[in-house]
Amino acid sequence: MPPELRESLLEALQHVQGYIYPNDVSLGWSVVIVVYPYITGLVAGAFILASLVRVFHVKALEPTYRLSLLTALAFLIVAPLPLLVHLGHPERCYEVMMTPHATSPMAIFGFVYAWYLMAVLLLELWFDYRRSFVEWAKASAGFKRLLYRVLTLGVEDVSPAAIQLDEKLGRFITVIGIPSAFLLHGYVGFIFGSVKANPWWGTVLMPIIFIFSAMVSGIALLMFLYLVISRLRRVPVDMGCLRAIGTFLLSALVLDAAVETLDWIHRLYEAEESLEVLVLLASGKLFFSFFLVQVLLGTIAPLAMLGATQVFKERISLRLQKSLYLVSSLLILIGVFAMRWNVVIGGQLFSKSLRGFTTYKIALVGQEGLLMAVVLMILPFLLLIGLVKFFDPWNTRETPPATT
């Protein structure tokens, strides 16, 4: 076996506490699998924010509508990569689609993913952008003209009737898209929630917790991106839009915190066989990432800050409000990452013997190392930069986006 893996496992063996099943020394799922539900959650959350404009007519959010969709697309493209990277035999990955095992929650991922990408996100983007493609194609030359023309898929009719039809179909797709977004991330929660062998994961609330935390993280990401991009574009931030995002973010965060608290109340009240080891886990191995990062920094602090922007909105300056929004969105993004970490890594730190703990030392390099996780986290942002350059989300006029 690889010597570095051998060394790290021998070291982990030295730090085992209590009794663990001997095969439980190594963690099967590493930091790369932490990134997977994190990215998928951001996709679902970003899409939900976009759908607020399209389906629920929240006009205030319009400045972030297209950005939300492009963000969802950028992150969705990267979403399966952590899984692929982590597979022992990535060359056999097609088997998941070709010979799916119907009873496996993981087998369905390919289909849920394909549905969400093809039937929801790309279609909605296309209906929304088609008119822009036609106009940009006319106004640009060379490669970009070709690109925009190809993207119209030959439908170049921009008469009011055609645009109205686009609008209608786009809205219809968003209506399908909302349950699809819930399905996408609720399903990721089900992958963990359905593991009855693991008491930390196996709770019926898991899909619900994943859906709410997805909404929280996706909306926080959009708030963060909107603030940063406005600064980069040197345009004033639309405070109405920012406040609207803030209100939705606060509501989602309250719901998320409530569901996660409910989960803990349930566990403590039912006090099953596993409770002792889970309490030890949360208060010991996960003390930093759970109590400090996820609960204090990722939930309580942003709740207070977002609450303050609501309660004292007349009394605090715009500058301070913007700072509060920026900081709370960042804290939430960190907090939700910590939540994914606590679920994925935390769930493997205790043994299924319920009598002991192993340790996880994150590798720097390698297939499942820290660097890989960082690359996987940066990739969607790079993609988003490209997407924003070519499909300027704020340019609905006839001039094509300037990409140079």
């Binding site: 076996m1 690889p2 893996l5 051998r6 496992l9 021998l10 063996l13 009794y19 663990i20 099943y21 001997p22 095969n23 439980d24 020394v25 190594s26 099967g28 799922w29 899984l83 982590h86 597979l87 022992g88 035999h89 990535p90 056999r92 990955c93 088997e95 998941v96 010979t99 799916p100 095992h101 009873t103 496996s104 929650p105 993981m106 087998a107 991922f109 992958i191 593991v195 009855k196 062998a197 693991n198 769930g347 493997q348 043994s351 299924k352 013997s353 319920l354 009598r355």
Partner: protein
């Protein structure tokens, strides 16, 4: 009032229609045609590497463990590693032995038993070191051999995204390593910690009851080397009334591990203590 009767009538109708439908569906699912269809599908995708002439339907393998007989010598775990080329490192085991030491309770308390210590250094290979608890303070101590429980309702089979792990009709849960994608979901799904991802082949691995041996009429390596007969193995379809597993199950009250999970293990234990998980 009418509404109540109407609902009751609809409910009764639904039950009377659905019950036979369910019964028929169950019958169809368990019919020989459906079973052979399932097996045909299984055969098309997975390989169990059975020798020619071996009929999977003519056998039903079973294993039982007599906890009272295990002396913790570790020969079984060692033989398993040799027989199945399991990595020698102390974190990969297809079978291992746990030692339980239950202390006497504090005489000032009203407890019946003291703290339980469990260990399994290198899976029990080479035997166990002297007890960390002095003899006079021990209430009870015993060894428990562990291995894949070959569950009737295996969570690992349920979880495998491609069907690379499967239930053979002869009672063994097997893995096709040519087909396994190495996602590790089965490792997470097994409540007994019996699976691991082999870092060399990068596929899932676990006890197969020494399938390459039993299909040739031999016994699993661990059973073969056990000096006390703590591991009992047999074929429930061999027609022999003195089948060792049958005799053992008839003469002992047996339990399975973690029965509350509904996995229906096919490895039966006699003499288990409540501390064993």
């Amino acid at each position: 009032m009418f509404g109540f009767f109407a609902r009751a009538a609809v409910g009764a109708w639904a039950v009377s229609v659905l019950r036979p439908v369910k019964a028929v569906a169950q019958k169809v699912a368990q019919s020989p045609v459906a079973r052979s269809a399932r097996e045909a599908i299984q055969k098309a995708f997975v390989t169990a590497q059975t020798p020619t002439g071996y009929d999977v339907h003519a056998h039903h393998w079973a294993m039982a463990i007599d906890v009272e007989r295990c002396i913790g010598c570790g020969l079984c775990a060692e033989a398993c590693k040799g027989e199945n080329h399991v990595l020698k490192e102390p974190f990969y085991f297809r079978t291992w032995i746990e030692r339980y030491i239950i202390r006497k309770p504090d005489p000032r308390s009203f407890e019946l038993r003291g703290e339980t210590l469990v260990d399994s250094p290198n899976g029990g290979i080479g035997g166990f070191p002297p007890s960390p608890v002095r003899k006079e303070n021990i209430l009870r101590t015993f060894f428990v051999p562990k291995l894949c429980n070959q569950c009737e309702h295996s969570p690992c089979i349920q979880a495998c995204p491609v069907g690379a792990t499967f239930d053979s009709p002869d009672g063994a849960v097997l893995i096709d390593k040519e087909y396994c994608i190495g996602c590790g979901f089965c490792v997470q799904a097994c409540p007994y910690g019996c699976r691991f991802l082999n870092p060399v082949t990068k596929t899932a691995e676990k006890c197969t009851l020494c399938y390459h041996r039993i299909t040739h009429g031999l016994r699993p390596a661990c059973v073969e080397v056990c000096p006390t007969g703590a591991r009992i193995f047999g074929d429930l379809k061999d027609g022999n009334e003195k089948n060792p597993v049958r005799v053992f199950i008839e003469n002992n009250k047996v339990q399975v591990l973690k029965p509350h999970l509904g996995t229906e293990p096919r490895v039966y234990y006699a003499g288990l203590d409540k501390e064993v998980r």
